[in-house]
Subunit: 500 residues, 3 copies
């Protein structure tokens, strides 16, 4: 029997109603060929810098994709069978073809999921696969991909260009050397591959590895960290180094969004305790550590208002839900689970202080959809500094993207959102994710047109905003300013555009 | 170039699917010409009583509309540029034409928002504007509106009649003189423009201005407030005065929905403390003040069960999120932000006591959509006293209204909702809001018909219920009763209608 | 005037868009005739065992249906008028025809509700009614049903066969004799009518009736309960007895989902306290009782991992919201109201311990839709032991079922859900509920096909999964295993299917 074909329908993910679909097609045509602006991602910069061929289909597409691994695990496929390495170096499947077969024979599990949508796009568009993956077709599909990977036009930077990526932001530890970025800059990628400053690990003073990270911070920054003042100065130095390398933003993933500041004396006391704990003293109290984290988020906002780095915040995820799995396999394997989020009270300190500051820009993400219409859209709909990030993580799906627009547009409009931000570590799926977002936005805008709530010329213009202009503008480095907290109410600088 | 036209399409906000739209049109035809029942609004009664021409387009449509102002501010337009007055009298733009130009040149920000829907309706229907607002057309549109405002047929009461408003409820401080209502009553508006009793300020005994309000309460009621007993008696007197002037309802906006009563001795102790604090004694504890607020909500329910005023409750909004903005500009400027709401536990005391009381009617509103299917529909679907208010504030939008029906109808049906309630302070937008609600309800009902879940004759009847009969019935003054708490279980008076 | 006809349209509850509907029809055809797998219900086994004719239309369809009773009560119909018995034996309507007339004359209240959908199905399909219920048609409809009930083909077991029920799980107190099940087994229903183990009452050690239930537990199990050890052993004995009678699952309805275990010494101390309280000692502290409940949920998971009974958990409902109503009328009359639920933290202890255990299966239900995309889909999408139950209670409605698929499929796929589970005590409505679920799933799958997100052959296969294969597989007794907590990470047994 001929295996079912794998194709990408030109109307995929567009609305079912024929009239709406026709309008959506017209809107989509305005964005499909726009460059990709990828301002928040987790692609390993080292892969781009080395620019070596990807090793094999399994290690490229299966093993590192936690969406995919978690689904297979949830249906009883062992991590070992998927070649996911153990921290203790214990035995796991090492034959990429065997891993691929296991994956392909479970293709049915991905029905109706965004993972399936992205994979289809990657298989067809990037590798020219034309049959549906299955136990039967696993080898043929594997061979097709492996062949492509051998060719120079499938090396990372070749794909980077072929994908039409105008700019890609990576995510980098605050203590990163940024050498890879420097090397890429020397080869002409200075404004196309930029780092993002991620200091989370340093802000949790009760983490076991904290003192090691602080030592690294001292080394990288050249600033001794023997006090809160030193700690802050070292972080400021690193932000400056990131800026030097073209960084546009910082990235903060905390369990909660609390931004309550403390006075300097209290902060000093806690840093001193943490340094003493590192030297064998009593451990820092967990509640104190959380309070310090909130304080440091406030400090990060203050620094952003001064240096113009966009501050990205994505709270509400309990990391490593299964601690045994984390101990055996490490983090980022699909055991991070959302909890209810709260923004209204949590962001009040930062927004009261910097919400009208012309130098400050915060982008907030959530995996708790309840907060869209209840908290985030109302906040972004009044504070000039705040933009809503795109649907994040579990929510950047056909229905998730649609629900987002339906929930936030009423109160925040379009211009208070960032447009699409992809947030992926799967390099080959970047075009697929932007493709999907452009389709869903086209569908949403088409519905507004068909329901006579928007004219077509406006929908076309807005589609380009969402796909291209807004992410560029949202992550443009803010002009710094010496204006203090609150001073800009009621006279912040106008950022309105003149429109016909 | 000719600027784009501004028109209202007869099918606006109806479902995209042609078959469903055809049914929706038929259903809409049954309600479009019905009178407007506007039972919860914030139009200033003084404007109606004076009945003077509106001064200019900016002061009528831009400056006082917090939906509109907040969107412009969120994109960096200063409050001052919009002519929003400062409490300190500091300089702001005073030329209405300049304000209007700023607004018109940012028209694109409102794409996809309900504000845009309402504004289009007002511009076209009330003022005959026929071009899309923009920097280019700003002056022409301004002139067109200004011209209309000069004509006697655009004075408040002329518009009131032209809008087909059968009855309009204003919102009035518990200490209001109600003189304007008396004057309007004398001119024949007794049952068409009615006050609503809003005692919030008096129930927060830790508010800075509380003692001043209490002094006013004493003056208006003629009841000395030197004790809890006196406080309650004075409030009861004022409710009677409101009833005298045709009031149908009370209105309560608290941060939480807690209705836990306390014993009289505790209440007495707290009122005494508050009076002492006003006279220079130690301040009332915040937790005590919140407990007293909950107790007074319970008391308000008790009073409603006796005097038949409908009790409206809309909790879950943190007022004046940016305290600097509030200090500079005052309240109600778009800085009120929702928080998660809870009704199941919070309303238990009141519903256990009065939920089956034939004299009691509570209407609950929320800005937390999560509570629709989880708490409010289940509660309203069993307690005879409770009705669900219409989608409120950030939620009275095309998609918000639709989500509301989809979330509550399953468990509460239609008859446990109030039908549409507009909640606006923008007088000219009242018809637009009812127009939108009728369209969305027509679309929802049409879907039920097309999915063969409802017959067309039933949909037509229900559409009239939602647009007209239910708001009238929900806000009809309840017949008082001496029946005590709980006594009406299991035998409350039947309020079922006989239907063919 | 001829009363309006009552018919079931073949396209009912299918999507409005004609193209999508055509595909949905094709998908629905694949499932409409499949047997019914009803793994979680509340039909009284005694009714099946006795197999006597149902007494009358009111006692069959009105009085025991709390969906229906609560809606009538919410609109002022007294419980007494509906013949709902009082615990004190006080007078209520006893004429079934009078009760029926009251119900029929309020038919309009059910517009748009699932109750209406189910009732229409029952009236037309089971009883051949062909006119819309109303005051006018009440008697004719009553007579038609009464006539049918007199016939042998409308006895419980005849209907059971006619409904095509392959297997029905009842819900039974942990202390049930299971005699009815034994009798039915003797008549050939051993694998078709099975009990479900529900120990809730025994796990709340501060309940007034707890000691009586413990006495019964001792009697049924033959195990003396004088200690925590004895308590656990007695429960284990009862689980074995249920297994003996064909049980597939346990059922747990707690206010919260907390599963935090305590050490044995603490558990022993609490059981001893509870036994002393029963003997006149001081009452058990409420917080201690809640902690014990959480501990026992953990123990139930442990037992499930050993004996293979599927563990069903449905938290988040505050029972008997109106305590007066409960005191007068008893439980289960519509006064159970949802509260916000939390799963991520609450299930962590159980999932860390048994989430990868091949012998453990948990099925989680919720009435808080917020938890679908935020917590339950992410958890079920990674832990092999966890499956998402179908939309439950207030949510098994046309729109509720659709929202569920839209919210969970992205992250959990289809295979991590149980397929449809009906959860009804209204025997005659079982086919109606499965009919509705099959229609809504067909509509959802059709949309995926029309949006080119799924091929038609896959949709057809998935429809059968959801209607038939998944509920069978989800409630298949797990193979027990001695593997300890955590030991199965990262190598649980594969449960993937091979698919073409």
């Amino acid at each position: 029997m001929t295996p079912p074909a794998l194709t990408l329908h030109p109307d995929r993910a567009l609305p079912a109603d024929p009239g709406t679909r026709a309008v959506a097609r017209e809107i989509l045509a305005a964005t499909l060929d726009l460059p990709i602006v990828s301002m928040h991602g987790h692609v390993d910069v080292d892969v781009l810098e080395r620019d070596e061929p990807f090793s094999d289909p399994a290690r490229l597409l299966v093993v590192p994709d936690h969406y995919l691994v978690r689904m297979l695990v949830s249906q009883g496929v062992p991590h070992a069978a998927l070649g996911v390495p153990r921290l203790d170096g214990g035995p796991v499947e090492t034959d990429p073809r065997a891993v691929w077969r296991t994956f392909a024979s479970h293709w049915h599990l991905f029905r109706g999921t965004p993972t399936r949508y992205w994979l289809e796009h990657v298989l067809v568009e990037v590798f020219g696969v034309d049959v549906r993956p299955s136990a039967e077709t696993a080898d043929a599909v594997y061979d097709r991909i492996a062949e492509a990977l051998d060719r120079p036009d499938h090396r990372p930077l070749a794909l980077f260009d072929r994908f039409g990526i105008e700019i890609l932001a990576t995510t980098d530890h605050a203590t990163a050397t940024l050498d890879d970025h420097a090397a890429l800059a020397a080869r002409g990628y200075r404004d196309r591959i930029v780092p993002t400053f991620r200091p989370d690990a340093l802000l949790r003073i009760d983490r076991p590895g904290w003192s090691g990270d602080v030592a690294l911070l001292e080394e990288r920054s050249g600033v001794p960290v023997t006090s809160y003042r030193g700690f802050v100065a070292a972080l400021e130095q690193r932000r400056a180094a990131f800026l030097e390398r073209g960084a546009r933003a910082t990235d903060h993933g905390h369990l909660g969004a609390d931004t309550t500041p403390m006075d300097d004396a209290s902060a000093e006391r806690l840093v001193t305790s943490a340094l003493r704990a590192a030297a064998g003293g009593p451990p820092v109290d967990a509640a104190d550590a959380r309070a310090f984290e909130a304080h440091m988020l406030f400090q990060m906002a203050r620094m952003s208002s001064e240096d113009g780095l966009v501050m990205q915040l994505h709270p509400g995820v309990l990391r490593d839900h299964d601690r045994t799995a984390a101990a055996v396999l490490g983090p980022d394997l699909g055991y991070d689970i959302p909890v209810a989020a709260e923004f209204t009270r949590a962001l009040r300190p930062v927004l009261e202080a910097f919400g009208h500051h012309p130098g400050f820009r915060m982008v907030a993400f959530t995996v708790d959809e309840d907060t869209y219409s209840r908290e985030l859209a109302p906040l972004a709909g009044v504070y000039p500094a705040l933009r809503l990030g795109a649907p994040w993580w579990f929510l950047d799906t056909p229905d998730g993207l649609r629900r987002y627009r339906e929930a936030v547009t009423d109160t925040a409009g379009f211009a208070n959102t960032t447009g699409f931000v992809d947030d992926t570590r799967a390099f080959c799926s970047i075009p697929a994710r932007h493709d999907l977002a452009r389709r869903v936005d086209a569908g949403y805008l088409a519905r507004l047109v068909v329901e006579h709530r928007l004219d077509l010329d406006e929908a076309l213009d807005t589609a380009v905003d969402l796909a291209y202009r807004f992410p560029r503008e949202a992550y443009a480095r803010r002009a710094g300013s010496a204006t203090g907290p609150g001073a800009t109410v009621p006279e912040p600088v106008s950022r309105g555009r003149e429109h016909a």
